[in-house]
Every structure is written in C-alpha cells, then in structure tokens.
C-alpha cells in the first residue's frame, strides 16, 4: 500500500489523489501552513458541510469528489482528508474507488504493450479504458469539446482528467516561473535573528581557556621542522610568477662568423611553395576545373594530385568561406619540418640539348644507303637468307617456300629458281671471285651449287675444281657424307650434296673460298663442322661445344674461328688449336655476328634488341652496347670496304651505322648511326631477317618476312 514519494508534477497530482483515497496521511507533500490557507480550508469545509447537509444522492457525491480531487493538489489538508476519508467509507458504490494502482512508482511505459495498466488492491488487473477513438474522433472531439484543451490523460490510470480552474492557475503560475503558492512572498524583508551591531558586552561571558595562553608544543614542532627545512634549502622561497616573457636584443653582439660545427651539414628547410593563380578566390576562368576534371581530381589519390586543392571561384570576397584544411596544412608543414629526412640534392639544371652527344653529321659521313632503290619480288614466303656474289652482280636468296632464287642485282630480275624442296636455312656465296659456287643449307644437307652465272670460264673452272677431286686410298671416317649430285640435279646446277644427318642451321665460307663451316642443330655434341670442298673432307673441330652455337664466322685475316654461343663469343686459333679469347656479350641471346674486315672488331646482334660492338684490342666486354632497335635484332653485317655496318630487326627497320676503326690504337672506334631504313612490312611478328652489304658499292640488301628482298642505295 505504500507509495513512494512523488517526483514529477503530474505524478504528484495522482499521488496526492491516491493518498486521499487510501486515507494515508500525506504530511510530506504539502506542509505549508499559513493562516491564509487555513482560512481557505475552513471555507472549503464549510462548503462541504453545505453540500452534505441536504443529504444529496450518490451522483452529487461523486461530483463533489471530482471537484475535490481537482482541489486537493492545491491545498490538501489534513482536515479535508479526514473528511474525504469519511466520505469514502460512507459511500461504497463509487466506481472510482477501485481504481487504485499498486504497481508502484515505475515508468508507466512498461505497461504500454499490455491491455492493463496495473493491479488493484485485490490483485486484479486494472484495464486501460477502451480507446476506440481514431484520429477522426480525436479531431472531432478537439473541435467540438470546449474542454479539450484542459483535458489531460492520467498516466496511472489512463483515464482523461479535466483540469480544474485552480489547477490551471497553478500550472500557469509555474510556467511563468512563480511560486506555486499564491500567498508566498519571496521578497519579505529579512530580519536578523540577532543584531549585527557591535555591542559592548559579549554574547557569552566564558573565560578563556588556559591552553590559549600556553604556546603549543605541536606547533612548535611543526615550526621547527619548517625552519629546519628552510635552513637546509628544502623549502625555497616562492619564486615570482613569470607573466609574459621578456624580450631583449638577442642579436646585440652577433658574430656573422660564429657558425656552429653542425651547420656545415645544415640543410635549411625549403620554404613553402608560393600560391599560383589557381589558388585565387577569383581565378581567371581557365584555371577552374571542368566537371570531368573535377571528378578525376576527386577520384585521384590525395598524394597523386597535381593540385592539392580544388580551384573555386567566388563572386565577391564576402562569399569566401573558411578553408577547412587550414589547420591540417599548417600541421603537415610542422611534420615536414621535424620528421622529414632532408638531403641536399643537386638540381640537374642541364640543357637537354647538351646531353645529346655531339656526333659528326651523317651528311659528312657519306656515302651510305639512304633510299630504297629496288624490290626483288618472287618468293612466296619469308626470305630467310641472302648472299651477294663477290663481283656484286648477283644475289642469291633462300626462302621458306623451298626455293633458292638467283637475282641480277642491277635489274631486280630473277634469273634462276632452284627448287630444293624444303626450307632454306642459309645461303652463302663463295667469297673467292674466281669460283662461282654457292653453299645452300637445306634441311639436313648442304648443297654446293654452281650458280652458272657470269663468265662461262669461271663457271666451268669451278666445275673442274670440284671434279679434280680423287677419292683417297684409305677411307677416313668423316662426320658427314659427301655425295655427288644426280644428273637431274646437276642440270640444275647442284654439284655436291653434303649429308649432315641433322638439320643444318648456317653455312659460312672462309675468305679464300676453299674451306667452309656449317652449324648443325644437335644438342650437346658436335655442332660445328669445318669442310674443305676441294678435298671433300670434313672434320669436327670441337669435341664438345659450349652451349647452343648460334653462329660461326671465319676470321678474315688470321686463322681464327669465331663461335657465338647463347651469351658469349669464343675465338679459337685453328692452327694452334686453342681458345684465344672469350667475349662476354652482356646480351641474353645472341642472334648473329659479323667480323670487321680489319679483323679487330666484332659486332653481335641479340634477340633482346641490342647490338654489341667488341673491340678485341680493348676488352672482352662490349666497347659499346647499342640499343637502337625496338625489337629483336636478327642479323648484322659489315661492309667490306666502307666503314659501315648495319643491323636488321624484327621491327622492320634496317639501321645503317658508321663504324670507323682507326689504326691508331689510342683512338677508339667511332660509331655514328646514319640512317634508319624502313620498307619491310612486319609479318608474323617478323621484320627483317637478313641484311647483306654489296661488296663494292655502299648498298645494302635486306631480306624480309614479307617475301621480298630490298636494295637500298
């Protein structure tokens, strides 16, 4: 039955109501007792009496109760309560009587989802009043009911309560910030409970204690402690508080030469960059970003942005807002100043033109091929290899379509076609001008072909030379088989057939025209063979070959033999049968090699698009690595008379360079690129497959993957 003390205004209302009905004495809630109220109370009592006197029926009674309920809040007094209690017990039929919630002082929203709102004294549920009103009803009520504005809902019972005049007045007073009690006067004059004036007589006349005369021992002890602490310097006198810092002329005696030791390494912080036009609040219109640029700017990473801010334009200074990243930027500057490692960097202030090496002008280095002069058409597939006759009159080319074609250089006509039946890997014209012989590497054999072009005497002389061979008495074991060609083949010009048993990659002649070498694709074993055509004799000079042999060449002057493996070039002395030099190419995979007619320089083309120039007198490393081509270099060539060399590459270009070699050992070779010759269309990712210089003229032939041979003059 006990109710906790009220806390809120509305609860107070219901609480006091409760106390009224329960008959409990609620002395704590309102205990003001001024004469004024008593009078009021008396009046009310009288009223009650009057109402009672006629002995009105229960309806009247309930009316009075309702009224009382409204009044109670204002001045619920004991006498009245007694009266009410009396009333209640007298009349038991009141239906309000059993509305008595026993849930206690709890938040009523806990009962929000239930149909009841608490329990009465008997433990029965108190149901919420039926709320069948919808929005419309509510509205109608609002419109029609003049009392609507003063109707509030009792949270304890859920019933509507109409506020009485007194309650309304109370609410208004509280809203205005006045005291709830009308009669209370907050501005009463204050009255001292005792006079503030100094009187001659004391209020109490108690004699002073003895201890107030005797010095305190405890205090003495404390003082002595303090004295001791002061003596010992433990307690310092209070320092004067420093207000603002004082400034003086710090640099009065400045010594410009006083540079501290560390300042030698001092790197002053760079100043913050100054703002450009784009940072203006009203920049020229071209500095503003277009919507696309702005979007791109926003999607960029902040560290990648060229401009760290978004340029904006404001119509007037008034419209400029605060910059939101101002503090950030100052902070970042601070971080830069003390956290960023500093390093003195020399700014490269070079004119880019100075970087370009000063080379002699190509015009001064003429002659060299400059324009495409002729195209030799006829092959139906890519032309793998070409070779020029020593007289410079004829050209032989081998192609993937299984033919070898002989061309006249000056007219571009195909003079003869020799079908060989398979892919021609390599052709080589005998460099001896008195012999008209071409070596053709086809499949697993090398054909020695008499071209039958030019001087009859020469042709017949060549045949005689080949037939002068007599079989030796004792057959020596040979790595290859020499077979004379059949009658039909002979008619076509083939004289000898050298069966290798494995596919032949390359053939090359010695300068004298008797010896020739072939490279055989056989893993591990004998890859290089040297043949003598006059004696029909072959031998394998190396028992074991160093890796995959790519290319071999005879030295033009000395009895040396150059073998290019994947990464290096070995030079063997054939007479003394030893390795003289090994050149490191610095390339991944050598594709071709050519020897300077002087014999002291070698160039190597590689599949990683480099061209290495070796000076044999200098070192075994390349004297110069030229990265002129965009793609793999397929072949390289030296001119026999002019200081020219060329390289053909998969990008379809032939680059002709000036490669002057001086007799003076102190002067290094001069390499100048002269001309980029373009003409071959890249097909199947292949461009130029072979290049060859004309023996006398500064002309160059190139064989391309597009099935043509081209002449540049």
């Amino acid at each position: 039955m006990e109710q906790p003390s009220p806390s809120g205004g509305s609860e107070e209302l219901s609480e006091s109501e409760e106390s009224v009905y329960s008959g409990l004495e609620d002395s704590g809630s309102d205990s003001e007792s001024s004469g004024n109220e008593e009078e009021q109370e008396e009046e009310e009592e009288e009223e009650e009496d009057e109402e009672e006197a006629p002995g009105s029926p229960s309806t009247l009674q309930t009316q009075a109760q309702g009224k009382r309920k409204a009044l109670e809040d204002d001045s619920p007094l004991e006498g009245k309560q007694d009266l009410v209690v009396h009333d209640e017990y007298k009349e038991d039929s009141s239906d309000e009587e059993d509305i008595r919630n026993t849930v206690g002082n709890i938040p009523m929203e806990w009962y929000q989802d239930f149909p009841h709102i608490g329990y009465d004294l008997d433990g029965k549920k108190i149901y919420k009043p039926l709320r069948s009103k919808d929005e419309l009803d509510l509205f109608l009520e609002k419109m029609e009911n003049p009392e609507y504005w003063r109707t509030v809902q009792d949270p304890q019972t859920g019933a509507d309560v109409r506020l009485s005049e007194e309650q309304l007045a109370l609410v208004q007073r509280l809203q205005r910030g006045h005291f709830g009690d009308v009669a209370f006067d907050p501005y009463e004059p204050s009255v001292d409970f005792f006079t503030h004036e100094v009187r001659i007589h004391p209020v109490t006349n108690r004699p002073a204690d003895k201890r107030s005369f005797i010095p305190s021992l405890v205090e003495k002890e404390k003082v002595s402690k303090l004295v001791h602490a002061i003596k010992m310097g433990w307690i310092q006198p209070r320092k004067p508080r420093e207000g603002a810092p004082t400034f003086y002329d710090l640099w009065a005696h400045e010594d410009p030469n006083a540079v501290l030791g560390r300042h030698r390494m001092h790197v002053p912080a760079p100043k913050a960059p100054l703002p450009g036009h784009a940072e203006s609040y009203n920049p020229p219109p071209e500095f503003l970003l277009s919507p696309e640029e702005e979007l791109a700017w926003q999607q960029q990473d902040p560290s990648e942005r060229r401009l760290p801010f978004l340029p904006r334009r404001f119509p007037s200074l008034r419209a400029v807002p605060a910059y939101p990243r101002f503090i950030h930027e100052r902070f970042e500057r601070c971080l830069d100043l003390y956290l960023c490692p500093r390093q003195r960097k020399m700014r490269v202030n070079v004119d880019p033109e100075d970087l370009i090496p000063k080379l002699p002008r190509p015009r001064d280095l003429q002659p060299f091929p400059t324009t495409q002069a002729l195209i030799y058409r006829g092959h139906s597939s890519l032309v793998r290899t070409i070779s020029v006759s020593p007289s410079g009159q004829w050209l032989v080319s081998g192609s993937d379509d299984g033919t070898v074609r002989f061309w006249e250089v000056s007219s571009g006509r195909c003079l003869r076609t020799l079908p060989v039946g398979s892919v021609v890997k390599s052709v080589a014209w005998n460099p001896n001008p008195s012999i008209c012989l071409v070596a053709v590497a086809v499949d697993e054999q090398v054909l020695l072909v008499n071209a039958g072009l030019g001087d009859r005497l020469l042709v017949s002389g060549t045949d005689q030379l080949l037939e002068a061979w007599e079989a030796p008495q004792e057959e020596r074991p040979q790595p290859v088989r020499w077979e004379p060609a059949g009658a039909e083949e002979r008619a076509r010009g083939v004289r000898l057939r050298v069966q290798h048993g494995k596919s032949v990659m390359q053939v090359t002649w010695h300068g004298k025209g008797d010896y020739w070498a072939s490279v055989v694709r056989s893993p591990g074993g004998r890859q290089v063979l040297i043949h003598q055509s006059s004696r029909r004799w072959s031998q394998a000079p190396f028992r074991r070959s160093p890796g995959l042999v790519q290319c071999v060449r005879f030295h033009p002057l000395r009895p040396h033999f150059l073998v290019a493996s994947q990464r290096s070039v070995r030079i063997y002395n054939l007479l003394r049968q030893e390795l003289t030099k090994k050149l490191q190419s610095n390339c991944q995979w050598i594709s071709s090699m050519a020897v300077h007619p002087g014999g002291d320089n070698v160039i190597c083309g590689s599949y990683d698009s480099k061209l290495a120039w070796f000076d044999l007198d200098l070192s075994t490393r390349p004297y110069r690595l030229l990265r002129h081509h965009g793609r793999a270099v397929r072949s390289v060539a030296f001119h026999r008379r002019y200081p020219l060399f060329a390289s053909g590459s998969d990008d379809g270009s032939v680059i002709v360079c000036h490669g002057m070699v001086y007799n003076d050992l102190l002067q290094n070779a001069l390499l100048v690129p002269l001309k980029v010759l373009k003409g071959h269309a890249p097909t199947l990712d292949l461009g130029v497959l072979d290049v060859a210089f004309h023996p006398q003229q500064p002309w160059i032939f190139s064989a391309g993957a597009d099935g043509t041979v081209r002449l540049y003059t």
């Binding site: 209070r238 410009p256 790197v267 100043k271 100054l274 119509p315 503090i327 003390y338 070079v350 690129p673």
Partner: protein
Amino acid sequence: MGGLEKKKYERGAATNYITRNRARKKLQLSLPDFRRLCILKGIYPHEPKHKKKVNKGSTAPRTFYLLKDIKFLLHEPIVNKFREYKVFVRKLRKAYGKSEWGTVERLKDNKPTYKLDHIVKERYPTFVDALRDLDDALSMCFLFSTFPRTGKCHVQTVQLCRRLAVEFQNFVIASRSLRKVFLSIKGIYYQAEVLGQPITWITPYAFAHDHPTDVDYRVMATFTEFYTTLLGFVNFRLYQSLNLLYPPKIDTQAEDELKPAEGKEYAMDSESYLERLSALSSSLARAVAPAHEDEVEMDEFPVEGETAELMDAKKKEQEALEKHKKLFEGLRFFLNREVPREPLAFVIRCFGGQVSWDKSLCIGATYDASDPSITHHIIDRPRLDKQVVGRYYLQPQWVFDSVNAKLCLPVADYFPGLLLPPHLSPFVTEKEGDYVPPEKLKLLALQRGENPEEESEEEEEEEEEEEEGDNDKEEEEEEDESEKEEEMKLQKIEEQKMEEQKTQSTQSKKVLPVKVTAGKVRLEDKQRLEQEQQQEEKRLAIMMMKKREKYLYKKIMFGKKRKIREANKLAEKRKAHDAALKEQKKKNKKARQA
C-alpha cells in the same frame, strides 16, 4: 700483410648516422620528449647517401639522425629541464594521491620552467638568419592568434601569439615593408620585405575553426612555443631598428584622439590597449623623435659602362619602390562593416592611406562614414542605397589588386555589384613558355604606361563592325580565314584537275587508250627538308646516348612537354570561355534589339 682486420660498418658513413631509437636511448628521453627536443632545437633526420651502408646492410625503412646532431643535443640544458619536469610530475601525482594539498601548492609554485632564448640565438646566429626562417613562425602565430581562448591550447599562448602578430603587423605598417598581398581560397597571403629578405605568411579568414581531430596539437604547441620566442626577439630587434618603443606604444598624439569619450569606457585600460593596437589605425610612438623625413640619398660615384647602367637600373628600381610605398598616400578610406576590417586596414595603412570604419564595429575609428574628405569607400554588398557624391564606392579587391599592380588601378571594374576581374597571384612570374593569363598581359601593359583601354575600345569597335558584318555572312578569325582561303584554293585546283581528267578521259576514250599527262614539278620545301633532316639527325644522336643520359633526357623532355601541354590546355580553355562569353553577349544584344 699484417694489421688489424677491417670490420664492416665501423668506419665511414655507417658511423656518421644514428637511428632514432638509438638516439633516444642515448639521450635517455621518452619519445614525446625527444620529439619536443628535436622541434625546439631544429634537429631533423637526414637521408644518407647510401642508405644500405648506413643501415648496416639492411634495407628496412629507418630514420637517421646525424650523430653529431645527437651529440650536440647531449649538452643541451633543456634536456635536464625535461627530466626535472618528469620528476615534478611524479611528485605532484604522489602529493595528490596522499592529499597533501600544502605540498601540491608548494610543488606547483616551484614548477620547473625553461627558456628558449639561447636556442634561438644558437639556431640563428645572425639576425638575417632569423628573418629568413620567419615564414613558418608568422603563419603559425597568426593561426594560433585566431584560436578560441578555451580548449585547444593555453590561453596565454593564444594571447601571446595575438600580441606578437599585432606587433609585427604594426612594425610592417611603420616600416612600410609590405610588398604583395594575395587573396587565396585558403587565406590571405602577405609578403613583406625586411632587410632585403622576403617574408611570406598566410592568415586564415576570420571564421571559427572547425578543429580537426586528426591533428596533434601538442606538436603544434611545441612549434608555437619556439616560434613565439623567436618572433618576440625578432620584433624587439625590428622595433629597435626603427627607433620605436618596444613593447609598442601608441603615439601620444594619436592616443589622445583615440581616447574614448568620457563615460563610455570601452573596457579596462590594460585590456583595451592591445585591442587599440590591433585596430592598426594609429601610428606608434618613437623612442627618438623622428627628424623630418630625412631620406638617405645615395651618393653618386663616377661610374662607367655597365656599372653605370646597373646603377641606373638600381636607382630606377629604388624610385619605383618609393612610389609603391606611397601608393595610398593622401587617400582616405572608409570600410563598410561587411568588409574584413583587419586585413584591409593593415594593407591600406602599409601604403600610407588613412582608414576608418564604423565606430560600433571596432575601437580605433578615426572618422565617420559621413566625412566628406573620404575618397574611397570599400563596400562588399551588391548595392548601396545612399551614396555620397565625391567618393568611389569600390569592392575590396581593388585595394589588393592595386597593391600588387603597384599603381592605383582604374576603378571602373571594381564598382559594387559588378563582376570582378580575376584576382591574380602576385607571386607568379611567368617565364618564357609559361601560360600568361590575358589579364596579366593587360596589367603589364598598364605598368609599362600603355593604356590598354583604348585598344580594348578599338577591339570593341571592331567587334561591333564584325557584328554588323554578321548579317551578311559569318566571319571567322583571321587565321581561320587564311586557312579557309588556302583550302578553297586547293579545292578549286582539285576540282579543276578533276574536270581536266574527265575531259581527258572522255577524249582518251575517243582517241587512244594510252595517255600521257604532263609531269608536274614537285616543289620541294627546302626549309622543311632541312628541318626534317635536322630532326632525323637529332633522333639518331639520341639513339647514341648513354642509358643514364637518355633517361635524364627523356625525363627532362617529358617535363617540358607536359608544361607546354598544360599551357596549351589553359590557353584553349580560355579561348573557349571567351568565345562562349562573346556568344552570350551577341545573344543579349540581339534580344535587346528585338
């Protein structure tokens, strides 16, 4: 071959550097203390030339300090103060824990403090060094002086920053050393020239700060601690150099004028002093009464040849500078209340102008808005109802643009409510090949003394003529015209050819299946050929470059090309914009006519 074995990393670069952690251990400081020390002493990490060698073969990212720097820190008295402070905090905590309030009081009274004077002297052995490094100090002080008095940092710091900033501003006014001003979207940049050193600082626009959470204010506060000390000493020295009193005193004469009327006390005298000073409207008291504007005249020495020219140029420059300093001399400005008062008052006073504002806006107003002697009224609202005859009503940008242009610009573009001409950065000096906005060109012409107005008028006339001509046929720009003509010619030639061919073919059909056309002389453009050849030569030479040089060359060329590309892009944008504007104008005109 005797001798000791040489160990790796015991000589050379590895011994010159020390990692941060090792440095910290050597100094026996906690990381925050170490950082504070580094900030105060201006010690920064160095990037070694061979990082791997210094890092003893490891490639882990580490910051390295010079060992010398750290050794130098070892003798720093402030390190001891840091340690004392640590002890103080410990004692205080203990006293609090034991509730010994007396001890707490005593400890608090003896709180260890340190001074940074010697560090300033050490970091900047000469005054000019200090001036050179003043940019960041000023920017920071101006920022901190706008902070609220509560919250992020100590009130004293904020007040000190404000004081120092105002003092510096007053010095700049007194010495008339301001050179450039720039209104950016970030804030206002100022550049002053003190003792030949350009000093640039930025102040934020006067708004409340939205304090970011990802900023470490302790770091900023430490920087500010040092910067305030530095700026204080610099201010002292600067004031001394001008024979001004420090701390600054307002001129007594001006002070009398400034005294508020009786009974209308503004605030306590001591408090209002700084405010009056910060109003920037009055001149400062001098320690020595200034003699009447004794300008130091340069003695003339007999010089010859180039030096004479140089001297002449110098003299001219000096004259221009003097003129610039007196830009607003004799002008009286009035600032409307919506105009940012402090920057404008500062700038105007720096160039000799007189400035005032509404009395209710700020202390220090010297004359009223109704004063008839006002020549320029700065206003930043679209229009003003009551305009007084006899003064220009201008937008604030006029003041800044005039300062940057070093001459009083024509006022017509800056009347209230007009679309302002672009505000250009005075810090940009365009080199050859850079993009130059047309406004800048106009300005340069103005500075040279030419009057672009006439030209523009002419242009306008031309435009008008063009517009007249428009009725017949659209005219293109000259270049386009010439191009078109050429095209037309070519077309005509081709048409002729076609016709000829047609006739020929008809004839040939009749007469013969073989035709012989007359050979045409192919004209070779020699210049172009030459150029092509040179280009090819260059390409070939580039092929011969060494790898490293080629890389450098390509990088430089890339940068150059990008620059050109950007400049072209800007020019194109401008062109498009102007074309659009023109179109708009035309339309408007037509609409008006119709």
